[in-house]
């Protein structure tokens, strides 16, 4: 655990970048510092590995005041990833990653083996290992930056807007990669961003700072979206707060209706008899093919002969309420097909069922 204990940083020119910050960063989780430009995020982060020393207060790493530890030693146990990746232009990718292990005195071979392992782990083609940084795209460089920070298996990882220089598509894939990695590694991560979407997506807990370096709110993302502490936080969270908080609510509780699924081989008449305006058609493997409208069905034959409208789907056990809502909005029936991890339909969510489930969550907004 990392503990900020009344930490204040006043720069030589008098700027108060961080003002009496007290908070805990939980072990094994991602804590995101978010806030407008100049609110002291970077300063706070860099006080953890003593790139900057606080003017007042203490920062404890598992109970030990960091100022009692020799900076290089401290830093070798803390991974650090920054925006431009900060790769050493003169060293090959693999050697970049092997840097800290070598600093720690590992043999060259062991350090390189470890580097290769990590490159693979962050999803980088191993053919790139012998290239130089300038030969990689921005997104690839960021992956290397992450691999490098992880090389010595430090328990703590500091990340300062690591993905803000790459384009949105690459950024999304980097974010997902980080979440996947973290689910395996369970590092204690402090992540800085000024993008609230990134913050709520990645953070187990999100600390919103206001300019002047004061903590406005520290909560898990769902709570943050549901109950912003004040107008500053509400404003900062921006539009779509209602929709976005659905991301943190599992769709598991929604009632599924299996009776609305019909196999493509079913006879038209049977479907018409069901009395429902729309039915979800599935193939022999149970995969959804689309929606059939009862009124537009042909007079005879199987459902497969009908004009099928594409359906919105979501994964029942995994996806959030948001994905379920999105799926209903994409379906003509206003209903969405729930599938399992392998893509087989397990039931249909009607809008009524969704409303019911949503009503349950909306109560959470009381506060």
């Amino acid at each position: 655990m990392i503990t900020f204990n009344g930490v204040t940083k006043r720069y030589a020119d008098g700027t108060v970048a961080v003002d009496g910050l007290s908070l805990d960063v939980h072990t094994g989780g991602i804590t995101v510092f978010v806030g407008p430009s100049g609110c002291g995020k970077t300063t706070s982060l860099r006080m953890i590995n003593r790139m900057i020393d606080p003017t007042e207060g203490q920062i404890l790493l598992d109970g030990v005041d960091v100022t009692t530890i020799d900076p290089p030693t401290l830093r070798r146990g803390i991974g650090y990833v920054i925006q431009q990746a900060g790769l050493f232009p003169h060293r090959k990718i693999v050697d970049n990653v092997a840097t800290v292990p070598q600093l720690l005195g590992w043999s060259r071979k062991r350090a390189r083996d470890r580097a290769m392992e990590l490159l693979e782990r962050v999803g980088l083609d191993l053919k790139l290992a012998d290239r130089y940084p300038f030969q990689l795209s921005g997104g690839q460089q960021q992956r290397v930056g992450v691999a490098r920070a992880l090389a010595a298996d430090p328990p703590v990882l500091l990340m300062d807007e690591p993905f803000s220089a790459v384009d949105p598509i690459v950024r999304t894939s980097l974010q997902e990669e980080l979440l996947r990695l973290q689910s395996e590694l369970r590092k204690t991560i402090v992540f800085v961003t000024h993008d609230i979407d990134e913050a709520v997506k990645l953070g187990d807990r999100v600390a919103v700072l206001r300019v002047g370096g004061r903590l406005a709110q520290l909560d898990d993302p769902a709570t943050l979206l549901a109950r912003p502490a004040d107008d500053f936080v509400r404003e900062f969270l921006g539009r779509d707060r209602g929709i976005r908080r659905l991301s943190f609510i599992s769709a598991e509780g929604i009632a599924l209706r299996a009776d609305l699924l019909v196999p493509a081989t079913a006879d038209v008449s049977a479907v018409r008899d069901a009395g429902e305006p729309w039915l979800a058609v599935v193939d022999g493997d149970g995969r959804p093919l689309g929606w059939a409208a009862a009124k537009d069905l042909p007079d005879s034959g199987t459902v497969a002969d009908a004009d099928l409208v594409p359906s919105g789907t979501f994964v029942a056990g995994r996806d959030s309420m948001r994905a379920a809502l999105d799926a209903t909005l994409l379906s003509p029936a206003g209903n969405a097909v729930a599938v399992d991890e392998s893509g087989r339909a397990v039931g249909v969510v009607t809008r009524e069922a969704l409303d019911e489930a949503l009503a349950g969550t909306a109560g959470g907004a009381r506060g």
């Binding site: 290089p72 030693t73 070798r76 990746a85 900060g86 003169h90 600093l103 300038f134 500091l158």
Partner: protein, 220 residues
């Protein structure tokens, strides 16, 4: 007599034994100052980066030295370093090399991107180690560019030393001038240029070998 040819080819062959030691002398007098200059420029350049306020005055002094005519400096040095000694020629050349190399080292070190330096710190490099393993290697292309200019200029400048009795191939210029004899002058010029070209080429090759990572940015 007016039809003195530009080059008497036979003269070259006959006099090679005399030219060769001049060439060797030239190489030593040109290159030693550059090497010493580099060795001195590195710590001074580091100091310049570390103490920015010292740097501007240093550059000022270097500029003044650079604007001193080499011949005058040779003359002034004779009583101290002796007549027609290598030292007399090499001292000012060392200063000229410094005038080029100190800024090159400083520019090279400041060319290290801030984010690279920051990550090195954050990874737990100690200052000395960071200097040796990160800052200096990254400075190499810029320093080498300066080294190329310094080397070529030094090779060219040595010949002025001939006016005070020790100028390597520059002797050929004096000799040719006194005898109204083109051949040694032409031979001298060609040898100096070829020598400079070779040195330059070797530095370019060295740069290629040392900095494969900088190739994308061009080598000028």
């Amino acid at each position: 007599m007016d039809e003195e040819p530009l080059v008497r080819w036979d003269w070259i062959g006959r006099n090679w034994p005399r030219i060769q030691p001049l060439l060797e002398d030239h190489i030593v007098m040109a290159l030693v100052p550059v090497v010493i200059g580099l060795l001195v420029a590195l710590p001074l350049g580091l100091a310049g980066v570390r103490w920015r306020r010292l740097y501007q005055p240093t550059v000022g002094v270097m500029n003044v030295i650079y604007s001193l005519p080499s011949l005058a400096v040779f003359i002034v040095l004779i009583p101290i370093t002796g007549l027609a000694t290598r030292t007399t020629v090499m001292i000012p050349l060392t200063f000229y090399a410094l005038a080029v190399l100190i800024p090159a080292v400083v520019d090279g070190l400041t060319s290290v991107p801030d984010h690279v330096r920051q990550s090195a710190v954050a990874m737990g490099f100690t200052p000395l180690r960071r200097l040796l393993r990160v800052d200096l290697p990254i400075a190499v292309p810029v320093v080498l560019a300066g080294l190329r200019v310094a080397t070529v200029s030094s090779i060219s400048l040595v010949s002025v030393g001939a006016l005070v009795g020790r100028g390597g191939l520059g002797y050929l210029f004096i000799d040719g001038w006194q005898r109204q004899f083109y051949t040694p002058i032409v031979v001298g010029i060609v040898l100096v240029v070829v020598l400079a070209g070779l040195a330059d080429l070797m530095l370019v090759l060295a740069q290629r070998l040392l900095t494969p990572w900088a190739r994308a940015r061009g080598s000028a």
